[in-house]
Amino acid sequence: MTSILLPASHEFETQDIFVNMGPQHPSTHGVFRMVLEIDGEVVRDVLPYIGYLHRGAEKLCETMDYRQGIGFMDRTEYLAAFNAELSYVMAVEALAGIDVPERAQWIRMILCELNRLSSHFMFLGAFGVDVGVLGTSFTYAFRERENIFDLFEEICGDRMMYAYFRVGGLAWEVTDNFVTRVNQVLGMARQGIADLDGLLTQNEIFQARTRGIGHIPAADAIDWGMSGPSLRASGVALDVRRDEPYLFYPQVKFDVITGTNGDVYDRYLCRLREMHESIKIVEQCLQNLQPGPIVPERMSRLLRTPPGEVYIRTEAPRGEYGVYMVSNGGNRPWRCKVRSACLSNLQALRDMTVGHYVSDAVLILGSIDIVLSEVDR
């Protein structure tokens, strides 16, 4: 009987194989496809494909007047729509030279920070699933996220696509019990952060999975144009809220959270600790909130902007969200370019992933908190 085993002297000819991940893979957080060249279990190369969620929001904005464009900005970043709206309306306000009333600005700040909380909750939940917590972190995070969304729904009627900010202020006044409701939500959010903190941060299995993985040095992170918590985890204290303040951020006290190693664990920890800062900011905003108008008194119904160009950047949960807007004097932008943090953060994916295991590739992708609607726009 002949043996089916090859003789020991035979030399195997091995080659790298290509594994296609996505676009329907649940751990790619949307429709993102990456082709992994793997040698055994080690990733040798990553080839990302984006564009599955491209809706042409920038081009659509050129055909819409300034109010109509707000709805499309919501959809460019659906996990933190208030932050996306904010950049857009601030760009138009800068073009048209509109002064926003104080009350509207404070409310904008509160809503943006609450949106940052809800977005980071989403990250914590999804990241836990990537690590392998099997949905426990997901349900915890979603429970808290629901509370924040309930508040948003009471104020502006929708849970994700708010369309609430307007050029010059807000669409309508917040509810009468706004302050008590925000305080209530903050209390629940604190409990939720403590839960997730207790579930994940010190867990030895979690740490073994995340520490020392997806490391990116500060210099490389800057070179790739990363921003937000992904950059701060590498030790670069860059926060648009502090470095190029907008709204009333100079009047509130908060710390810019930075990491040291720039690995997956630091990026997780950075976001977790940033949530406490968001709560601090919202509390200070509530103290400063005074009754008053929410739209400027003299506001023309048909808004036209003088010719010019402007670039406004704000700190969205995932990093710098900028809107570059060119006007040629009409009632709609001539060009509306969105600079999204996720696209820039994604550039560093290859640097972070090569040399790690396939199972870690999922983690690294999750750790930059990717939102594909923001990448493709």
């Binding site: 819409m64 109010r67 109509q68 464009g69 707000i70 709805g71 499309f72 959809r75 426990t136 915890y140 429970r143 629901e146 309930d150 729904e153 009471e154 104020i155 502006c156 009627g157 929708d158 696509m161 369309a163 669409a171 309508w172 006044e173 509810t175 839960d195 207790g198 579930l199 994940l200 941060t201 010190q202 867990n203 030895e204 299995i205 979690f206 740490q207």
Partner: protein, 156 residues
């Protein structure tokens, strides 16, 4: 080991808390007053006709062009011996719910408060098998307000 124990303590504590989930199709959460589902046309109960005059304001302002509006002379106008002060009135109105992105702009631009966002569960549970079933005609848009089933919140 300490971290693992802390994780188990967290899950154990959560296990003892009250559940936050609902048996969805059977029980519904109470929706806030400002909830936005899909736009509806409103019915003037006093004169027994729609508020809408077919002025095309919402149609022009809609970012996704989901509306089609046609107006006609109002047969119930006072000059015709009727009781209404509306010279023109809506003749045909279609809203494609499949296109609508619920941005509330149509409600804001309306000068007659004739259109409002449905703030009941009927607006959220409006799935259809065929895409064409989502194109609502005037009758469908008015029926809920006419029956007094919805009172949309319109920003002051």
């Amino acid at each position: 080991m300490r971290g693992l124990i802390r994780s188990f303590v967290t899950t154990g504590a959560t296990f003892l808390r009250k559940p936050v989930t609902r048996e969805y199709p059977e029980t519904h959460r109470e929706l806030p007053e400002r909830d936005r589902a899909f736009p509806l046309l409103l019915w003037d109960q006093q004169i027994d006709e729609p508020f809408c005059t077919g002025c095309h304001a919402c149609e022009r302002a809609c970012p996704v062009e989901c509306m089609t509006v046609l107006m006609k002379d109002n047969p119930n106008h006072t000059s015709q011996g009727g009781t209404s002060s509306r010279r023109k009135i809506i003749d045909k109105f279609w809203i494609d719910y499949g296109r609508c992105m619920r941005c509330n702009i149509c409600v804001e631009v309306c000068n007659f408060d004739a259109i409002g966002m449905n703030n009941t569960w009927s607006g959220h549970e409006s799935s259809a098998v065929d895409r064409l079933d989502l194109v609502m005609d005037l009758q469908q848009l008015l029926s809920q307000s006419r029956a007094g089933a919805v009172k949309p919140w319109i920003a002051p």
